[in-house]
Amino acid sequence: MKSKTNKKVIKAAKETVFYLFLTTLIAGMLLPVYFIISLSFLSTREAYQYPLPLVPAIKTDMELGYGERGYLLSVWDRIDKEYQTVLDTADLEKMEYYIKSQLGTKITEEELLIETSRLENSDEESIFFTKPRALLNNYDTFFTVTRDAVPALIRSLQIAGLTILISLSIGGLAGYAFARYIFRGKDTLRFSVLFVRMFPGVAIALPMVFILAEANLYDEPLGLSLIYSVGAIGLTIWITASIFMGIPVSLEEAAQVFGASKFQAFMKVTLPLALPGLAASAMYIFLGAWNETVAAIILTQFKPTFSVVVYQTLLGASGQVNLAAAGGISMAIPAIFFTFFLRKYINRMWGGVKV
């Protein structure tokens, strides 16, 4: 009896430790994600505060008084719990700009005029007013200030699409050959396909610049997708070969016996069965091409990819972490969308393969 309860206690303790471990692990992975999402909604002023606010404010409390040069603008600080003076100016245009860009808050010049006349007409030394935050301000700024952002986004989509097309058609066929045929040098080839991936992108980038320039593909989406395909084809061969190996040859042979040509058998039997796996490879290829930055920096000049633009936001003169965060999130959204879209599609297909 006693040992039974003991065992229960030990089991419960074990489970607790396990879930604690799991929670820590998940938290460790999710924390940076949360951090960057939250950061992308913070105003510039908040983004450079210490400690950093955990959630973005949805409104801004402001105090307007008289200063030495004109009006004195103070902002309620959620951390220090007091109004802090941020601006002393008579220029309302400047004040409006400051509120918009630094405080990420919506205000119009008329509204500002109303507030100042309210101050003039009152007996108080200062008046208080509250305006809603423009939560998407960083995103707005990112796409308007960074002139390249939208064309770069389109370019990145193009590149990812081209990379999928090239890698999947070449890699998929090669994977099929690896799975179905015995040929001389198969093992060597299988290994050398991975060999390509052993070299970091930076290491081969310089020779690539010359090769692409020679082919008139430097600073072109097609050039970059060719470079990405070099690595992606290797991976695709490995993934698709194992997919095709998992589809019994006898299914194709049965189709041939029952009246199909070799090509028909492939199209009607093997390809549909491989689709979930091919979709999974497409997903990996997309993520690889979409997120790649280093080679893109070296291999583009006037036509940067989206990842390069985000990177430049972080470095450039306008370098603001909250803007970069908004760029990063904008970059993650297509990747997340694509992944979930494909996943849903993959899981819907004859219930078999799970990714």
């Binding site: 299914l251 049965a254 016996v257 009246g259 004859w350 219930g351």
Partner: protein, 363 residues
């Protein structure tokens, strides 16, 4: 329907592996022929060459007098039940059966008719809209058979179609396949490594070993007149008992002398051995041809080692030197381990084999 003729068929994989070695055989119109042999003897390879899935190294394949040796599978008019069924998992049962008919440009209503006909024949009418993953092994097997008979092939090929079923289902499917064959009257080549399956289902059996054909005959022929030691051993459970014996002549009678018995042969058996000039041979006796005898008629006595009751009969095992010998006796009287028994052989069922060539002697 048609005949199938194979002439001097050979298949080599690479230079060294000879999977099928110069075999010739003929399958009659509507016949149920079974290719039987141990694993690796070349049955599947033979079947795949007939279907066109494997290139022929040498030889000819004729289906209804048409040389199909070089034709692709789709032009041979054969159909096949694969060992793993090879039902297309992304198509419903209906689509599986109708795919081949569609490729033949058959009309929609005609296809519907055929699908429902074969579904009725194979008892899968209720399953037509299901996907293969929703079927049991036995049902998948039926779908594979239905798909194969739907195309009304000239030759119907089956590669160990029952080996993935559980023992009970396997036996009942045997009977059903036989019934389906009787109504479809398809020229059939059926591959198996299970000799009891072959015996129960075949019109004729082709026994293969090491890529070669060792015997072709009806189930009775291969059982009673096994062509060599391999067949005698392979066919029948328990297998044939073998005794190394010395051939001696005293006066007019021939004797087979073994450390444990001295058997004088009947004139008929003696006649069989007339042309045989060696002084040793292998005597083969099927378990049911070892008889319990009384004191006077016995040729040897021994003690029972193990008894395996089988209901209708009992299998009695005993030991001669290091060899275990098995015999089949009526269920009554019940035998017990340790009992002394007296034995004799059924003269007209004895088989003699040449120890060097392993071939049967006489006939």
């Amino acid at each position: 329907m048609a005949t199938l003729e194979i002439k001097n068929l050979t298949k080599k994989f690479g230079r060294k592996i000879i999977a099928v070695d110069n075999i010739s055989l003929e399958v009659h119109d509507g016949e149920f022929l079974v290719l039987l042999g141990p694993s690796g003897c070349g049955k599947t390879t033979t079947m795949r060459m007939i279907a066109g899935l494997e290139e022929v190294t040498d030889g000819t394949i004729l289906i209804g007098d048409v040389d199909v040796t070089e034709l692709p599978p789709r032009k041979r008019n054969v159909s096949m039940v694969f060992q793993n069924y090879a039902i297309w998992p992304h198509m419903t049962v209906y689509e599986n059966i109708s795919y081949a008919l569609k490729l033949k440009h058959m009309g929609k209503s005609e296809i519907d008719q055929v699908v429902h006909d074969v579904a009725r024949m194979t008892k899968i009418s209720e399953l037509l809209e299901r996907l293969p993953t929703q079927l049991s092994g036995g049902q998948q097997q039926r779908v594979a058979v239905a798909r194969a008979i739907a195309v009304s092939p000239k030759v119907f090929l089956m590669d160990e179609p029952l080996s993935n079923l559980d023992a009970k289902l396997r036996v009942s499917m045997r009977t059903e396949l036989k019934t389906i064959h009787a109504s479809a009257k398809a020229t059939t080549v059926f591959v198996t490594h299970d000799q009891s399956e072959a015996m129960s289902i075949a019109d004729r059996i082709v026994i293969m070993q090491g890529g070669k054909i060792v015997q072709i005959g009806s189930p009775e022929e291969v059982y009673e007149k096994s062509a060599d030691l391999f067949v005698a051993d392979f066919i029948g459970t328990p297998p044939t008992n073998f005794f190394d014996v010395e051939l001696k002549k005293t006066g007019e009678t021939l004797h087979l002398v073994h450390p444990h018995f001295d058997l004088s042969l009947s004139p008929k058996n003696a006649a069989l051995l007339q042309g045989y000039d060696k002084d040793r041979l292998v005597l083969g006796v099927r378990p049911e041809n070892i008889l319990l005898a009384n004191e006077q008629a016995k040729i040897m006595s021994t003690t029972v080692l193990v008894v395996e009751p089988q209901g209708s009969h009992q299998v009695i095992a005993f030991k001669l030197d290091e060899n275990i010998i098995k015999m089949v006796a009526p269920a009554q009287p019940k035998m017990k381990t340790g009992t002394t028994i007296h034995l004799n052989f059924k003269q007209e069922a004895l088989r003699f084999f040449d120890p060097d060539s392993t071939l049967a002697i006489g006939n």
